[in-house]
């Protein structure tokens, strides 16, 4: 055999080189499952964007001991305005912490009265990406209602079991649609650009404030 007929390194390693690319892709894909498991589903990563005054629909599938269920909620942001301090159980306004202010988020909500919605979360996001969540424990338990988006006297069912559904019926069913004001505590200089609404991450509504 002459030197010119000898197969080159690339020819000799042809199959290794061909398989190298899919092997790398497979290795990356296998490692990326951790992103899905530990990061993607744990936070807000799938926005459904809209603007104030226009209804947006959030649909998700949730797991309860009785199985998997689908629920859908239509949310319309009616406005974001300076708010009043919520009242204590004695009917007096709570003390507003120094350096903060109250903002009222007016929402119109439409959902099946049998859907559990009390797990919902509301947050404000400003132009710098800072996010102020509705947190009922900020000023101590009992100061703010536990859920920001259901009426306190008719919150609807907390789950899908027959007992939870019956309990909601006894309290009086949640209206099929209603207006609700969410009192949000934010720092003095916080200017809301978006209202966020979600049930289970990663999907969420991102509504621009006009």
């Amino acid at each position: 055999m002459t030197a010119t007929n000898r197969p080159s390194w690339a020819q000799r390693n042809k199959w290794g080189l061909i398989l190298l690319l899919p092997a790398l892709v497979l290795a990356l894909a296998a490692a990326s499952s951790r992103v899905q498991l530990f990061w993607w589903g744990a936070d807000l990563h799938q926005p459904i964007s809209g603007t104030q005054g226009r209804p947006l629909v959030l649909t998700d599938t949730f797991h309860a001991p009785e199985g998997y269920f689908k629920r859908s909620v239509e949310v319309t942001l009616q406005g974001v305005s300076p708010g009043q301090a919520p009242l204590t159980s004695l009917g007096k306004p709570v003390d507003t912490p120094s350096g903060s202010k109250w903002v009222s988020v007016a929402l119109h909500i439409k959902a099946d009265p049998k859907s559990p919605l009390s797990v919902c979360q509301v947050a404000l996001r400003d132009g710098q990406g800072r996010q102020a969540d509705y947190d009922p424990t900020l000023l101590g338990m009992g100061t703010l209602r536990s859920s920001p988006c259901v009426p306190e006297d008719h919150p609807g069912p907390s789950g899908m079991s027959a007992e939870e559904q019956a309990e909601a019926e006894t309290e009086g069913p949640r209206p099929a649609e209603y207006d609700i004001d969410v009192p949000m505590l934010v720092a003095d200089r916080f200017e809301a650009k978006h209202v966020l609404f979600w049930l289970n991450p990663p999907k969420y509504l991102k509504i621009s404030v006009r």
Binding site: P97, S98, G99, S100, A123, D126, G129, R130, Q131, A132, D133, D135, T137, L138, L139, L185, V186, A187, D188, R189, F190
Partner: protein, 193 residues
């Protein structure tokens, strides 16, 4: 064996040795297991603001005494109660500061949540400070030169940011605290002080 084959083999040997050498060099510079688990520490002093990933923390006062009066109970000790007042201001999200530990010069650690200790610090929104207090029971003989470690997440400071605050505890300070019959723990409040 032809001269060309010999040269190729020699070159291969040199390249293999070089690769092994570079590998060893890289390995010697990579962090070992203990180092990579170490948090990102930011040193500070009392009344100095220190960034801890989710916000900034400022230790305002440190006081000690032989009994602790809190809104719910009074607790005596044969050691010392140290009460730390600090402010935490979240930067981006609604959160609190959930880990506080006192660390002696010899490495002994006392967590703000262990045993009878308390860390009264709830959450706040971005830009709004929260005034927090922690009470930690410590043996007086070990705390000279101790520092404080504050971190965003409870009990898991690996890879995370930790503020390391020099508490400036001297023998005179310990003597004063031993003579102080009571320190007070008031709880956390939202808002600037």
């Amino acid at each position: 064996m032809s001269r060309r084959t010999l040269r190729t083999k020699a070159l291969t040997g040199v390249v293999a040795l070089a690769v092994v050498g570079i590998g060893q060099l890289l390995t010697s510079h990579l962090p070992d297991e203990l180092t990579e688990l170490r948090p990102f520490e930011a040193a500070g002093h009392i009344d100095e603001s220190v960034d801890v990933r989710t916000g900034s923390v400022r230790v305002q006062t440190v006081n000690g005494g032989t009994s602790l009066r809190s809104p719910i109970a009074a607790m005596r000790t044969s050691n010392l109660w140290v009460v730390i007042a600090y402010t935490f201001t979240p930067s981006q999200t609604t959160t609190g500061l959930f880990s506080i530990e006192m660390v002696a010069a010899n490495g002994m650690r006392w967590s703000g949540t262990a045993s009878r200790n308390q860390n009264l610090c709830t959450s706040s929104v971005p830009g709004l400070p929260i005034q927090c207090q922690a009470a930690i029971e410590v043996p007086a003989d070990y705390i000279i030169g101790a520092h404080l470690e504050l971190a965003p997440t409870a009990d898991l400071t690996q890879y995370d940011a930790v503020a390391v605050i020099d508490l400036e505890i001297t023998p005179d300070v310990v003597a004063d605290w031993k003579a102080n019959p009571e320190v007070t723990l008031q709880g956390s409040t939202l808002g600037a002080s």
